[in-house]
Symmetry: C2
Subunit: 459 residues, 2 copies
C-alpha cells in the first residue's frame, strides 16, 4: 500500500495514504506494524520554510482541524520517504503547490501552480548527485531554448561559516540568510539597511558580509576563499568550499561549467537546506532581432520578459529524519522547476516570433466534398485510428469542404484525406497537403503507408 510504481516514475497518493495510515495507527492497525502516529496536516509544514511560512495556505476540515495546502513538493517527498522507510530513490514529480502570495500573472506567478521536482535520495559519495541535478537543470533549460541562463550555486555551510566569521550571532543565521536572499531583487543598500535596522546587526558586521556577498566566480573562487584569512578559520566554510571545488570538477566532466556561477549572495529562504544550494535565472531580455526587424522594429530592440528564477534547489540532509520516529536521516538533493514561469516565457517568445502553437497532434482530417458521406468518413477514420494514425473527422453529417479545410488551417492539421463518390468508386482517397494545396490520389490500401511516410517527415 501507499506506493505505486507508474512506469518510469513514482507517483504517490501521499496525503490520503498518510491520513489512512495515521488512522490505522490510532486504531492499532490490522497488522500492528504502524505504531507511530504521524500528523500529516499543518504540523508537517511548520518550521520547514523559515520566513516564507507566512505563505502557507491554511484551511480547516469538517472536524475543524487546521489543514494546509502543500507549499512545495520537497516536504511531502521527505515525509513519504520517512513513512515508507525508503533510503534510496531517484524520481521526478509534477504536481500543484499553493502559496498565499501576491500573484503576478504576466510573470507566471500564481497562487496555485505546478512544480516539477527531481530529487536524488540516498547515502552517496559527496557532490556526485548534486552535480547530476545541476546537469539536469542545464539540459532542461538548454533544450527548452529559453535564451541564455545562469545557474548560481552556493553552500549553506559557506554562508553559515561566513556569518560566523563576520560576527553574526548563531541565532540570527537564518534570518540574515533570508535578508541576503533578497539581493537578487534589492540593492545592497536596502539589504544592509534591513540587516542593521530591522535585524540588529552592527554596521561593521554588515559591511563584512557585504564584501563576501559581492563575490562571484568558479572553481578559482572556491580555491581563493579556502585561503581567505577569515573564512579559512571556519571548519564549516572550509567543508563547503572543499565540496564546491569537488562539485566544479564534476561539473567540468558534465560539460556545464559555462553556465554555472559560484555566487556568495545566493542564500535561498527555505530553512531545510543543509549544503549546496542553487538557482537558475534566465537572462532578463529575450532578443528577437530578425522577426522584430520584419515587424518594423529597429535592430537591437529588445522585448523585456522578466520572470526571475525558473528553478532552484539544494541539499537537505536533515528533512527526512524530522519525519522518522527514530530520526534516521536520508541525505537528499533536488531541484524544483517552476512550470508556469517557463510556460509564460515560452508563450511570450512564441508571441514575439508570431509563432502559432499547435494545440493538436492530429496528422490528417478525413473530409468529404459531397453530401451523405458521413458513414464513409467514419469508416475511413476507423481504419486510420486502428492503424495508429492520428486522424480526426468533423462531427457534422454534411460539413462544407471549405469548413473542413478551414478547420485544418486553424488547428494546423497538415493533411486532408478527401472522399467522394468518384474516389469510392475508384478505390482511392484524395490526399491533400493543406499548406501547398497539392492533391494526389492514393489507392485506399496504400493510404496508411503513405500517411506514415509523410507524417514521419513532418516536424
Amino acid at each position: 500500500h501507499g506506493e505505486h510504481c507508474r512506469c518510469e516514475h513514482v507517483v504517490y497518493i501521499d496525503e490520503e495514504v498518510a491520513k489512512l495510515l495515521q488512522l490505522k495507527a490510532q486504531l492499532g492497525g490490522e497488522d500492528g506494524k504502524h505504531v507511530f502516529v504521524l500528523k500529516t496536516a499543518k504540523e508537517t509544514l511548520t518550521g520547514k520554510y523559515g520566513e516564507d511560512s507566512k505563505l502557507i495556505y491554511d484551511l480547516k476540515d469538517q472536524g475543524g482541524e487546521l489543514l494546509s495546502l502543500r507549499y512545495d513538493l520537497t516536504v511531502p517527498f521527505a515525509r513519504y520517504l520517512a513513512m515508507n522507510k525508503i533510503t534510496n530513490i531517484k524520481r521526478y514529480h509534477i504536481a500543484k503547490v499553493y502559496r498565499r502570495d501576491n500573484p503576478a500573472m504576466t510573470r507566471g506567478r500564481y497562487r496555485e501552480f505546478y512544480q516539477c521536482d527531481f530529487d536524488i535520495a540516498g547515502q552517496y559519495d559527496p557532490m556526485i548527485p548534486d552535480a547530476e541535478c545541476l546537469k539536469i537543470v542545464y539540459e532542461i533549460l538548454s533544450e527548452l531554448d529559453l535564451g541564455d541562463f545562469r545557474i548560481k550555486v552556493n553552500d549553506r555551510r559557506i554562508l553559515d561559516g561566513m556569518f560566523a566569521m563576520c560576527g553574526v550571532p548563531d541565532e540570527k543565521f537564518r534570518t540574515i540568510c533570508s535578508t541576503v536572499d533578497k539581493l537578487d531583487k534589492a540593492s545592497w543598500e536596502d539589504v544592509k539597511n534591513e540587516m542593521v535596522k530591522e535585524k540588529g546587526l552592527s554596521e561593521g558586521v554588515a559591511d563584512q558580509i557585504g564584501e563576501y556577498v559581492s563575490m562571484q566566480g568558479g572553481m578559482d573562487l572556491a580555491e581563493r576563499l579556502l585561503q581567505d584569512p577569515k573564512l579559512s578559520q571556519s571548519k564549516q566554510a572550509c567543508a563547503g568550499l572543499a565540496d564546491m571545488k569537488q562539485l566544479f570538477s564534476y561539473l567540468q566532466l558534465f560539460q556545464v561549467t559555462d553556465k554555472v556561477l559560484f555566487d556568495l549572495s545566493l542564500a535561498r529562504g527555505l530553512d531545510y537546506y543543509t549544503g549546496v544550494i542553487y538557482e537558475a535565472v534566465l537572462s532578463q531580455m529575450i532578443q528577437a532581432p530578425v522577426v522584430a526587424e520584419q515587424n518594423g522594429a529597429l535592430p537591437g530592440d529588445e522585448a523585456s520578459v522578466s520572470v526571475g528564477s525558473v528553478a532552484g534547489g539544494g541539499r537537505y540532509d536533515g528533512l527526512v529524519g524530522m519525519f522518522d520516529p527514530k530520526g534516521k536521516k536520508v541525505p537528499c538533493v533536488g531541484v524544483s522547476i517552476g512550470i508556469e514561469r517557463i510556460f509564460s516565457i515560452m508563450e511570450q517568445k512564441a508571441e514575439l516570433l508570431a509563432e502559432k502553437v499547435r494545440t493538436t497532434e492530429t496528422q490528417v482530417l478525413v473530409a468529404s466534398a459531397q453530401k451523405n458521406l458521413l458513414e464513409e468518413r467514419l469508416k475511413l477514420t476507423t481504419e486510420l485510428w486502428n492503424a495508429g494514425i492520428k486522424a480526426e473527422v468533423l462531427y457534422k453529417k454534411n460539413p462544407k469542404l471549405l469548413t473542413q479545410l478551414q478547420h485544418c488551417e486553424e488547428t494546423g492539421i497538415p493533411l486532408v484525406a478527401i472522399l467522394g463518390e468518384q474516389e469510392l468508386k475508384d478505390g482511392v482517397v484524395k490526399l491533400r497537403k493543406v499548406a501547398s494545396r497539392e492533391e494526389v490520389d492514393v489507392p485506399r490500401e496504400e493510404l496508411v503507408e503513405e500517411l506514415k511516410r509523410r507524417t514521419s517527415k513532418l516536424p
Copy 2:
C-alpha cells in the same frame, strides 16, 4: 490570461484564475470586461451531484468561507468553458479529485485519487461525438489489456420516459434513478425494497420498472422498445431510443459493438447527465492459466480481481449553461477514467503473472571494475547523455563491479558499459548484456551507434 495551451492538451489553473477573475470583477477590473461575479467555491458544486453530494469534501479558508475540494473534473471543466466563453473544444485532463467516501485500498478506491477525463464540447450532429467517446474507452481498455470488458450504455431520456410511463411522479425521477443505479451491486429485491419502502413507490410501479431494467441488448433492443406499447407513448423515451439506434450505427462503423451493451438498468447517480450515459466494467475474474499452472495451481483456477466500473460518462448539455450569466448552453459529452482502479488491476495482474515492473527507462549503466575511474565514468556518461542515450552511473567513487551488476538486475537495466585501464588504453568500452552476460569490446567512437542499435530492439 487563464488559458494555457500546453502542446496537445489544454491545462488550466482553474481555481486560482477563477478567484483572481472574481476579485478583479469585484474591483471593477482593469479593463472593465469582467462584470460578472462567479463564486467558484462550495456554491459551484452543490446541486450537481444529486445524492452523491454527501461525498463532497468541505473545508474552510482563512476567512472562514466554506470551500470544497473538487469532486470530479466535469463540473470544473463546464465552469471553465462558461467563464472563458469557449463553445468548442476537445481535450483530456488528468488530475486529482476528492471524495469523502469509505476507502477500499485493495480495490483501488481512495479518498484522493486521479481521474482522466476526455470531453467533447460543441454543437454537433447527434451521437457522433458520443460514439467517439465510446470508441476511445474501447481503445484504452483494449490496449491496456485488462481482460474482457463491457461498456453499458443507456440514455437519461429513456430512463425518464420509462419512469413516467411506469407512473413514477416527476419529482421522484432523480431519486429513483439513484436507486436503479445500485442494481450493479444490489439484487432487484433490495432495489425494489428501497423504491417501495424508502422512496414511496407502489409495488405495481416498482414491478413495471423491474421489467424494463432487466433488459439488455444492442440496436435490436432499441428498435424493439420503439415499438413497446408503453415506452412509445413517451416522446422523451422515443427521442432517446432513436438516438440509441443512431449511436449503434456509428459504433458499428467504429467496430466496437462487440463490447457495447444497451442496458436499461444503467442509471448513474449524477444529476447533470441529460442524454446518453455509459459505464465500462471489467469482467470480474482475470484468468492466468499458463502462469498459474507453472506456479502449481490447477488449470482453471481464477484469481478474483473485483474493481467495479473503471470508466463512465455521458452527455451533459445543461451544465455549462448553469455557469453562464446568460444561461448560454454548450452541449458536452465526456468520459472519466478511474486511474487508480486500472492501476490496481494492472498491479494485481503483474503480481499474478510474477512480472517485474520496470520503474526506470535506463538503457545502460556506465560501470567500472577498477578503482579511481569515477572521472572516466562521468565523462562517458556525459557523452552518452549528450547523445540522447538513457544512461546512469552509480554515485560512488569506487563501487564494486558486483554492486553495479546487481543494481542492473534489480532495476532491469539491460546493458552495462564497462571501463577499465585496458579499455581506456585500447579506446574501447566493454559492453555487457546483463541477461546473457555476453561481453564485447566496442570502439568508443562507435558506442553510441551500437547502443542505439541495441536499444531500439529492446522491448
